[in-house]
C-alpha cells in the first residue's frame, strides 16, 4: 500500500460577506456589545517615531468604491520590530502593530493613524542548517540568498475582506519618501513588471495638523490593478 502523509489540510476560506462588521467591528454595524473593540489603536501612546495618517479607498472593477470592505493592517514599529515573539526584539509598551480599518459606508473612504514603520530585516540568508554549511564553505553559492536578505523598505501589510472577495487579499503599502530603500526592497523587486510596483507606493497628499498624510488606493481590477501577494 502506498504510504500516506498525515498532514491535515487547511480549512478553506469563505467570503466575510456584507456583515463582517457584526463580528469584527460591531460598533460599525450599529451596536455596542464588547467592553473594547480590537484593533482601534495601532501604535499606542508610547510609540516612538513619526506619527502619520494613512487614508484610502478600495475600488472595484467598475471604478466604484467598495463601501463594505474591512481591512487589517500589520506593521513593525519605528525600529523595524514586530510585536511578536519572533519579531526581532521588544517594542514600546502598548504598541500592537495591528489594526482594523472600517470604511465610511457612504463613500468607502477609510483612514487611520499610526507611526511610520522602520525598515525590517529581510529573509535570513541561512534558511536551514544545510544552507548555513553551504554559506560557510561556498560563499559564492549564496548570491540569491544574500539578495533576498536585503532589508525591506518601511511598509504596512494589508489584508482585506469583503462581500465578493472569496479569500482575504494580501498587499503592502510602501512610502513615496523612501525612494532609495524602495529601490532595494527585495519584495518590490520581485515584481517583474516595474510599472506595477507603483501600485504599492502611497501618495503623500497633505499635512493634517502637522501629521503627514499618505493616500493608498487599492484597485481590485483594471488598468492599475494593485499587486496582491500569495504569502
Amino acid at each position: 500500500m502506498r504510504q500516506t502523509l498525515d498532514y491535515l489540510r487547511e480549512t478553506a476560506s469563505q467570503t466575510a460577506g456584507p456583515y463582517v462588521h457584526i463580528g469584527l467591528a460591531p460598533g460599525a454595524a450599529g451596536f455596542d456589545i464588547y467592553r473594547e473593540e480590537l484593533g482601534r489603536d495601532i501604535a499606542g501612546p508610547n510609540a516612538r517615531g513619526q506619527r502619520i495618517r494613512v487614508e484610502g479607498v478600495v475600488i472595484d472593477g467598475m471604478g466604484s468604491p467598495v463601501k463594505d470592505v474591512l481591512l487589517e493592517v500589520w506593521q513593525a514599529n519605528a525600529n523595524g520590530i514586530y510585536p511578536h515573539p519572533e519579531g526581532g526584539g521588544t517594542v514600546e509598551e502598548g504598541f500592537r502593530g495591528w489594526g482594523r480599518v472600517i470604511t465610511d459606508f457612504e463613500t468607502g473612504e477609510w483612514s487611520f493613524e499610526t507611526v511610520k514603520p522602520g525598515a525590517v530585516a529581510g529573509r535570513h540568508p541561512t534558511a536551514s542548517g544545510v544552507a548555513r554549511r553551504v554559506r560557510e564553505t561556498h560563499p559564492d553559492w549564496m548570491g540569491r540568498a544574500d539578495e533576498a536578505a536585503a532589508r525591506m523598505a518601511p511598509h504596512l501589510s494589508f489584508w482585506l475582506v469583503a462581500r465578493g472577495i472569496n479569500i482575504g487579499l494580501n498587499t503592502r503599502m510602501y512610502f513615496p519618501d523612501e525612494a532609495e530603500a524602495n529601490a532595494k526592497d527585495p519584495v518590490l523587486n520581485l515584481i517583474e513588471w516595474e510599472s506595477r510596483r507603483a501600485t504599492l507606493i502611497a501618495k503623500r497628499t497633505d499635512n493634517d495638523g502637522g501629521l503627514p498624510v499618505y493616500r493608498f488606493e487599492i484597485r481590485l481590477q483594471g488598468d492599475d490593478e494593485t499587486v496582491f501577494f500569495d504569502i
Partner: protein, 240 residues
C-alpha cells in the same frame, strides 16, 4: 535565529477570486496573478491577543446581548479545536464569530430582511483557544436567509468564523455550516470552493456527546490553519 517558514497555501482547495455564480465576485476579483512571496518577518509574525483583551462572557451569544431574557431559537454549543496542518494545537489564538439570529436576520444597519431583529441577540462572540487549542461558543442556531444573487438564493444556516493563528499569513475567515442542511448543496457561495473535501471540512458535525441534556445541542467544528516547517539550525531542530 532563522524563523521557520509556513507551508505554502494550497490554492486549489480555496475558492479562486473569480467565481461568476457568486455574482459579487465578478467586479471584486483581481484578474492578474498574485505574486508569490517567500515568508519574510512581515508574514511570519502576527498580532497576539490575551485575556485582557476580551471578557469571559464574550463567547456566550445567549447572554452577551440579552436585555429582557434569552434569545429565541435552538440553543447550540459550537466547539472544536484550532489546529495547524501538522495537527498541532494552536493555543491562545483569537476566534471571532458572527451570525444571523434564529429568523435569519442580522443585527446590522445594512440588513433589511423582513425577519425580525431579536432584542436579546447581538450575533457576535469571541474567545481565545486554551492551551490545547480548544474553543467553544454557546449560541442559537442561525436561520437560513435569502440573498440577492439569482432570484431565489437562500444561504444555508451558517456562522462566520475568523481566526488569527500566530502569523499574519495564517489569517483566515470562513463559514461553518450544519450537518444535514439541504441548502448547502444549493449555495453558490459554498460552491466557490472547488474541492468537495474542503467543503465537507466546513460542515460542523452533530455531537451528541457534547450536548447538554434538556438544555443545549452541540456541533463540533475543528479549524485547520497553515502548518509550519521545523528548521534545522546548527544541526538541531529549532523551536516548534
Amino acid at each position: 535565529m532563522t524563523p521557520a517558514e509556513f507551508y505554502q497555501r494550497d490554492r486549489r482547495l480555496h475558492p479562486p477570486a473569480l467565481t461568476p455564480d457568486y455574482k459579487t465576485s465578478v467586479a471584486r476579483s483581481p484578474r492578474l496573478s498574485m505574486i508569490s512571496l517567500e515568508n519574510t518577518a512581515s508574514e511570519i509574525t502576527g498580532p497576539t491577543f490575551g485575556h485582557g483583551d476580551i471578557d469571559p462572557i464574550d463567547n456566550d451569544l445567549i447572554k452577551n446581548y440579552a436585555q429582557t431574557g434569552d434569545p429565541i431559537g435552538e440553543r447550540v454549543i459550537v466547539h472544536g479545536r484550532v489546529l495547524d496542518e501538522n495537527a498541532r494545537a494552536v493555543p491562545n489564538t483569537l476566534v471571532e464569530i458572527w451570525q444571523a439570529n434564529a429568523g435569519g436576520r442580522y443585527r446590522h444597519k445594512k440588513d433589511s430582511y423582513l425577519a425580525p431583529i431579536d432584542p436579546n441577540f447581538g450575533g457576535c462572540g469571541r474567545t481565545l483557544t486554551d492551551e490545547n487549542g480548544f474553543y467553544f461558543f454557546r449560541t442559537v442556531k442561525p436561520g437560513a436567509y435569502p440573498w440577492r444573487n439569482w432570484v431565489n438564493n437562500w444561504r444555508p444556516a451558517h456562522i462566520h468564523v475568523s481566526v488569527f493563528g500566530t502569523a499574519f499569513c495564517q489569517r483566515l475567515i470562513t463559514q461553518l455550516y450544519f450537518e444535514g442542511d439541504p441548502l448547502i448543496a444549493q449555495c453558490p457561495i459554498v460552491h466557490t470552493i472547488p474541492d468537495p473535501d474542503a467543503i465537507e471540512q466546513l460542515i460542523a458535525r452533530l455531537d451528541m456527546n457534547a450536548s447538554i441534556p434538556l438544555d443545549c445541542i452541540a456541533y463540533k467544528f475543528d479549524i485547520v490553519l497553515r502548518g509550519r516547517r521545523s528548521t534545522l539550525f546548527e544541526n538541531r531542530l529549532e523551536g516548534n
